[in-house]
Symmetry: C2
Subunit: 239 residues, 2 copies
DNA sequence: CAGGATCCTAAACGATACTG
DNA sequence: CAGTATCGTTTAGGATCCTG
């Protein structure tokens, strides 16, 4: 039994951390932010967590009203976990942390776990609300086998899973390249030149898309300015 | 030596948690959000952390560029830690977590740690940017020995430490009452009636202030609606 | 006052084995 | 598939003492 450890501070932050501050918990919630997921799906995306720990965390999150179990048996799928509204409220915070953490992403090591669906969260995190154009258009992303898109409408942008209807930009890439670009280790230009990124669509639309995501599409200033925080050299290329 | 454990995931969130996801780390940063603090100040506000762990965490945060050491000797004070710009970027996220965690604040237990300066963060977290009036005015709070205020100006609200110039509202209370009100265990009205809160100033200004902080000044709906998420019964009253 | 060294305990980890 | 139970190993957490 988990002898629930608490900070025992009369403070909102400490209480929040008593609920979601333990190791693995926010990563579990990240998985659920992508939609309902089965126990084994979550387990597969969190190498090293151990079955008992995952079960305990999920149970605790359900108990605290952050997640709930849904029984989809009958619809083809079976048991799954999903976030409650209280859990969904963490989305902007987790996206903010994701964005903040981009600065600390080192270049890919061989032992790193990588899942294409994380690209969806990365894209959501990178969206700059202040840079949304007033057009109505969609940018589609195909990261390995995952397809998602960003919809611009009414001056607001939002990320959606699945293919876009009539996208003005389609970007095809692999998960490693996607995160490399997001973390500033690679520019879209360089990724295209090395064949890791294929961009289709109107040039101006591509530029708007890069702008929206805070990417310097052509120059390499991004790499230069971010390199300060990390290592001296790096080796690229991945399978 | 701390054999830094990492999630080893190529993802912004995992990287963020590798930096600030360990136990105590965000609470240390909370302390630094209130301004530069000495080692022993932080230690005093985090009962149970252990000196070596605090030293290790601080060292790690400095190493990762989230905090830095400042030498204030000569100005009367001495060595202190403060946040770097990268650390300051966590402010909205930590305030968001603080707000989110308010729902999970149980009523005060005798063993809970409580610091009046946390009220400042709580107030900052409760500020609803959508409910800022277009006036120019200041609300002052005196929580035990701590004084801070909220300044409304140009349609924006911000929290500031210290006394306000010409405040339209002055609220005097103790730290426990302050957090109780913020977490919905108590209404301002009830706190006044029991003598734990003294409000001075124009009635309309008080109402605007409550509105800004998301407080139902008169009704008890707040308590009723929040009670659902927690316990079946509760015993109030404390010293 | 700042923080290093030590020691012990309590968790987390990872593997495996088991159950409805 | 969705967990529970157990166990050996590792690591973090916490208390205490010590030093510059």
């Amino acid at each position: 039994m988990a002898t629930k450890r608490s900070y025992q501070q009369y403070c909102g932050l400490a209480s929040a951390l008593d609920v979601v501050g333990e190791r693995w918990t926010l990563l579990i919630i990240r998985e659920l932010l992508l939609g309902p997921a089965r126990y084994s799906d979550v387990l597969a995306n969190l190498p090293g967590i151990g079955t008992n720990l995952l079960a305990e965390r999920l149970k605790f999150l359900v108990q605290r009203g952050v997640a709930r179990q849904v029984d989809l048996r009958g619809t083809g799928a079976q048991l799954a976990y999903e976030l409650t509204p209280a859990g969904e409220e963490l989305r902007p915070l987790i996206l903010g942390l994701t964005r903040w953490g981009m600065e600390f992403v080192d270049d890919l090591r061989s032992e790193d776990t990588l899942r294409p669906q994380w690209g969806f969260l990365a894209a959501e995190a990178m969206l700059d609300p202040a840079k949304v154009s007033d057009r109505h258009e969609r940018y589609e992303f195909r990261v390995d086998d995952q397809v998602f898109h960003i919809e611009i409408s009414g001056g607001r942008a939002r990320g959606l899973r699945g293919a876009a209807v009539d996208p003005v930009v389609v970007a095809k890439t692999d998960a490693a390249t996607f995160v490399r670009i997001g973390s500033g280790h690679l520019t879209p230009l360089l990724a295209m030149l090395t064949g890791h990124l294929v961009l289709e669509g109107d040039v101006d639309a591509v530029l708007r898309c890069c702008e929206l995501l805070g990417l310097e599409s052509a120059s390499s200033r991004t790499v230069a300015s971010r390199a300060v925080s990390a290592r001296p050299a790096s080796s690229a290329a991945a399978g």
